[in-house]
Symmetry: D2
Subunit: 339 residues, 4 copies
């Protein structure tokens, strides 16, 4: 089918490529003419402006946005001025589902369908396919189904769940209509919240193994530092972390795609020397914890994963200073330079 | 090669079967004569006592224990009275690595090798193979290598990590000599600590999705309860959780074997009505957090996962009562029966 | 000075009493005529409606609201229709500071000052005085200062901080103009977030002491449960918790007003049998954690305190079931009825 | 009564002074002859060696140790060679209660009483008195009672808890016989665990207030960073933190001695510029969390407080690098230098 893509960055460009391979007619636009030209060379139809892009489509139109969350709002507003009733906007980026709910109301008032599509897959999506979590009106989701099916990995990407029989459901193919507008980004948001915690789980565990030799390292003894009571139980200096990540990949309970990536990263750089350890977060993890709080649902792991990222960027510094000040106040304890 | 197995429960019996299939000579013993007879019928050689078992082996002997942690200690003590220098004991159960360190010292004083082998794979290991994390003297680990190789899944169980070339390493085959005695169970311990957190991550995320409709449910309004400020953002009642778990299995960043199992569980029982929500823990998760603390390493997710299990069994009840008492004390707040 | 109070519940009525004692002229209104009559008997001037209340005041008027957060918004809207430029509304309840920011904008457009006043003190405020955290325009805060000063505890309520000299600042008297509209409730919100964590800290600690005898209680031994490695270190059955709370009140680092209340509660009911352990939360703790998340600041304790309250009301049940289902899936583990 | 003190550091010396003031006969020893001489000048009787110290006492002797935990064990062993049946050793330092249990067994075999005394009060104890948490045999605790009573703050240090009447109990005077050997340090250990969390609660809350102006600071916009959805709700740049800590000291629910110290620290150095934010821990916080874990009791706040201290000293660095490596792996995300 015919589809327009606005935003040809890392994600958007690869999605166009995957759609082209499946035989879809892709009209593309980006602020970078170079990005447009690159995809035109691969078979897409380029446009020099959003107006030109929209003008080149047949009704009912489908315009897919693949933009940074900060820019999506203005882009939607612009599009709503160009589209007609029956057309559909798909936001495939990392918008807050709350913006979806607001924007869908505005769009619906014009008869335009607003579809939110949480998209997982990262730089690997071109080959692996994208996992799509979709919210919006049935009319639009049904019409765009061929595009979702082409982007999704397909049922063969994993063994069918025991008990699943007959024609594979959309969920088994890797895309799901989760509910009304916002439901797709909501499920994708929680997906990312989970992702943060999965990453943190491996990270913490590997760190514990990395420090399993504290019993054989020299430790200072003073009134400020408790001696390790039984150093004989921490003799494991130098356990081979890349090998540990590798051995867990086969037969263990913790096997996962994130573990595969971790093993690969450790293989090429066992000390991860190229990283400074400042971990970014792009919003979904925050929103997931906020949703847990507003729902009154406990989510200690997901929030701990988020807070570890904040802390990796120094957010706790002032709080730490308060504690050092308190220790000085009640006990005369001076800060130590060592650990 | 020849190997003896003591303990023919869920894990031990399947490991014997996998070894028999690989052509190894398995001598078996269990307090249950029935369990012994069952494996004899499948080709193992049975013994009516530990003494008989040991008597039937050629030196250097290899005796593998697959017993509950609480029983392993006494069993090792008994075995040390029966074995000769050069023999080896393998503890494949869920012992604390600290017990390994202690027992290995005792064994070494008799010239006996003590090997600890953390074993992951659960009820699936017979078919998938077992992921083995091994600690102990080189002499014994080298000698027993054929057994490890037969139990492990083998390199074909997962795609090779990019960059890995040549003959697959033991880690790539699914078994790893992690270090001296105790190192195997240490790595397995952390593996389980990670496992708890991975499980908790999915559990929390699915719970947040399950409660995404709080905005459309009736909520009480009083001085004790803050109104949800923007209920319009929680309209998603009834998102299909089995389908969500299913869609994440293909193409997403959170794909894993635990997710596969979660999808299967939700498919067969979407409300998980058969469970009361009392989550057991079998020790490794506790020991992992203790190791983090003794090493001075932060592990908020792993410990949160552990504490959630404790709380699921009511461990916080008195603490909660203290808070209710405090609220009554400073604010005159009475406990509410609703949530 | 002259001041009107709307909302004569637990907090509002006592605040009127404290103002009357200080010689202020208090006009009062509540939906309960009985509540109005009670305070009239103590010297306040009653009104039968908000209109009557406002009509009885001289300009510039000061109307203080002490209402549940859920009702405050409508009440403000109503008042804005009755007041004149130069008048002031004070919201002394537990509103979200976000509502203050929104309402202050609306009020300012009419020339009306909107003051938010976070009020701590609970049922003890009548005697101890109230700690007041205030946001809003300087004009109004200056004008209402006599009321703040009368409600606040005064400098004698605590020893002056070393280094503080000269005339006591408002903060030393127990009230503080924190910043523009919303700043008062923001600081009060964080105050309550801290309060939750302080309460949780004592609660957790007392619970650990309460369970210090696990080593002398019978424990089951099976493959699902790790034996306590060293039960000899948990022999302390029956430590006297009321006495522990009491002893900490003098000379220790953990002395606090909340500890005083805890000691009192334990003295009268050592097992806290009257409580079910369902801990309410009234909004500020949630908003504090949300603020931390939106600011990108790590707040693990404050959020853990909040989540413990959610969990005390059963919010984790489904998540726990997911974990039990996973354990059954990979290990064949059945849930246990014991702990 | 007659008592010997070994260890005349910050704590020990002040305790001797307080005992001297109460009229007790204090024999003192320290490796520093200067420290001994200082106290002799204040009325104590000095000794040049432990042997001389013990030799100068009448049976039944009482020797109080006030030493770093790392040194206490050897000192006890030495003392056991010098003392007679009926004598008592008091360990007033920060030993692990597990060491008490072990040492008490050894001492009891010689007929010597071993008393552990957790001591809170820090540098303020000389004036405020010390809160004492005591474990050990009744015989010794009864005999030493005059010393405990002299060190403790006394009942006047705080208002009596409502409902407490008659002669003040020891707990009301600030000392408590908690149970058998080890019980004193166990209760003190948990006291410190609580202390860590109280400190962390204030620290986190103040940090949230400090960052309440993120909405008015310039923020970058790119695909890696989610824009703050509603910056209008974070306008509070520059709230006066010293004043906030001060105002909370009177009438609020969060008043405490730690808050008093926090207010004092912020008054003298509002930005806490003199601190680097590396927060030490001296053992008890670790042991408290370990006790919670071994008891199977959830203690999320206490452990979060501990982990924040570890993280303040960089313990999470490698874990953070793992997460950055994973992000690069699945999404091509490069680390950012900003926050």
């Amino acid at each position: 089918m015919q589809i327009a893509m606005i935003g040809l960055g890392r994600m958007g460009a690869n999605m166009v490529r995957r759609l082209l391979r499946a035989g879809h007619e892709c009209h593309v636009y980006d602020v970078s003419a170079e990005a447009v030209a690159g995809l035109v060379a691969e078979g897409a139809r380029g446009a020099g402006s959003v107006e030109e892009l929209v003008g080149g489509l047949e009704a009912p139109r489908t315009v897919w946005l693949m933009l940074p969350a900060a820019i999506t709002g203005d882009s939607v507003t612009g599009l709503l001025g160009l589209l007609d009733p029956g057309d559909a906007i798909v936001d495939g980026g990392n918008s807050s589902y709350r913006d979806d709910i607001d924007r869908a109301e505005t769009a619906a008032a014009q008869g335009i369908d607003y579809v939110d599509c949480g998209t997982s897959g990262g730089v690997w999506g071109l080959e692996r396919g994208y996992c799509l979590m979709i919210g919006g009106p049935d009319r639009a989701v049904s019409r765009i189904e061929p595009v979702f099916a082409a982007l999704a990995p397909g049922v063969d990407a994993a063994p069918r769940t025991p008990g699943a029989t007959g024609d594979p459901s959309p969920a088994e193919q890797g895309w799901l209509h989760c509910g009304p507008s916002g439901a797709g980004h909501f499920v994708k948001m929680v997906h990312n919240g989970i992702e943060y915690a999965l990453m943190g789980a491996y990270a913490e565990g590997l760190n514990i193994i990395r420090n399993a030799g504290v019993g054989v390292r020299a430790a200072e003894v003073d009134a400020e530092t408790a001696p390790l009571r039984e150093p004989r139980y921490y003799p494991f200096d130098g356990i081979d972390l890349p090998a540990v990540a590798e051995v867990w990949r086969r037969g263990s309970v913790v096997g996962s795609w994130l573990l595969d990536l971790t093993a690969e990263a450790l293989r090429s750089d066992p000390g991860l020397e190229q990283f400074a350890g400042r971990v970014s977060d792009s919003g979904e993890g925050r929103w997931t914890s906020i949703a847990a709080i507003e729902e009154g649902v406990s989510a200690p792991l997901l929030t701990a994963a988020l807070y570890s990222r904040f802390a990796s960027r120094g957010s706790e510094l002032f709080a730490d200073k308060v504690e050092s000040a308190q220790r000085l106040g009640f006990g005369g304890h001076l800060e130590k330079s060592g650990s």
